[in-house]
């Protein structure tokens, strides 16, 4: 190892400062550009102005199953769930969708995967880690997507011929 001279050390510090300055400048220019390019959820309104929010869209309540976009997608909820209580005391969803209740309700039963603990062992009832339905299953609204989506169904992907 070679001991650095005092002048050499000074040079290093200068270089560091220069790099930091260039870095800051770079970030600033990028952020200025970003403001022009990226569309945000808040729309066109200036930062200090409160824009009129869009009208709240209605929840789809047709009780018709919707297509899943990929096999493992958690099915969406085709009905309203206003004030459905899912907490320590009780679970309103399971009052129709639990194994014992589907005969009366004719609702789809919770998937068998929900009875498994994380080691794959089957339990007698819905596993606690699957208890909070809304973590994965959501209602649908009639809202138009704010940002366009390029998602392709796997079947469509398979039809695309690979480029050679």
């Amino acid at each position: 190892m070679r001991r650095k001279s005092r002048e050499g050390m000074k040079g290093d510090v200068m270089m560091k400062k220069l790099f930091i300055a260039i870095g800051i400048l770079g970030v600033m220019t990028i952020s200025v550009h970003a403001e022009d390019i990226i569309a945000t959820y808040r729309g066109e309104a200036a930062l200090n102005v409160e824009d009129n929010p869009p009208v709240m869209s209605k929840v789809v309540n047709k009780d018709l199953k919707l297509k899943r976009n990929y096999p493992m997608q958690p099915p969406t909820i085709p009905h309203k769930i206003d004030n459905y209580q899912v907490d320590l005391r009780t679970n309103k969803c399971l009052s129709c969708h639990s194994r014992k209740r589907v005969e009366d309700s004719q609702a789809p039963m919770v998937s068998v995967t929900h009875f498994m603990d994380r080691d794959g062992n089957f339990l007698a009832d819905v596993s606690p880690r699957r208890y909070f339905c809304n973590q994965c299953h959501v209602i649908q609204t009639e809202a138009k997507p704010l940002i366009s989506n390029t998602f392709k169904d796997v079947d469509d992907l398979l039809k695309v011929k690979p480029k050679k």
Binding site: H79, N83, R89, S95
Partner: protein
């Protein structure tokens, strides 16, 4: 004791010495109106939301829960207050319920639910009382506003119209059988029919 009863009976049994018959009858009639009116006014006051939420037990627990539900805030602005669901409208039933409510004064005096913890521990029991009452009177307080005869199934969602046109129409089920916890939060529902 017997002497006292005898004395009062004699006072009442004897004709009035100082007051005329007209004064007594008209006075009695007027006072009757005043007392009856006063009684009913007081009774009506106990039916107001102001009265119910006057105690923190109701204001901080059940009243807070009601405010998030459709029976408090909705598109048309028609709302239910406490007594609409918890007190019968018919006079005799109302008086019977008000007499039962004396138990609630006992509860207030001795603080049976004066903390959140105590209330949570009693939630199931209190809920069961209300379910039992509504089950017994065929959900009378629901039907005071929601009249089955005027329900338009075509304006209901598919699931709702299916249940209402079958189980409810046949009288197999009554409102409270399915619509539990619509205005307040539910207790632990273990073992409740329909909740497994």
């Amino acid at each position: 004791m017997w002497k006292k009863i005898k004395f009062y009976w004699q006072v009442i049994n004897r004709p009035s010495v100082h007051y005329s018959l007209g004064f007594l009858t008209i006075g009695g009639f007027v006072m009757g109106i005043v007392f009856w009116g006063g009684f009913n006014t007081a009774l009506e006051y106990t039916n107001t939301e102001e009265f119910c939420t006057g105690c923190h037990e109701m204001r901080d627990n059940v009243y807070q829960e009601l405010q998030t539900t459709i029976h408090f805030s909705n598109r048309s602005g028609v709302r239910a207050k406490c007594s609409d669901c918890h007190v019968p409208h018919e006079w005799t039933d109302k008086i019977a319920r008000k007499m039962q409510a004396s138990k609630e004064i006992w509860g207030k005096v001795f603080g049976t639910i004066n903390t959140r913890e105590k209330f949570e521990n009693k939630r199931r029991e209190l809920a069961e009382h209300e379910w039992a009452r509504l089950k017994a009177n065929d959900s009378l307080e629901c039907r005071n506003c929601h009249n089955f005869d005027f329900m338009d199934f075509t304006r209901q969602s598919t699931r709702a119209s299916e249940q209402h046109s079958t189980a409810l129409a046949k009288g197999e089920k009554t409102c409270i059988d399915c619509h539990k916890g619509i205005a307040h939060q539910l207790p632990d529902m273990t073992g409740v029919e329909g909740w497994d």
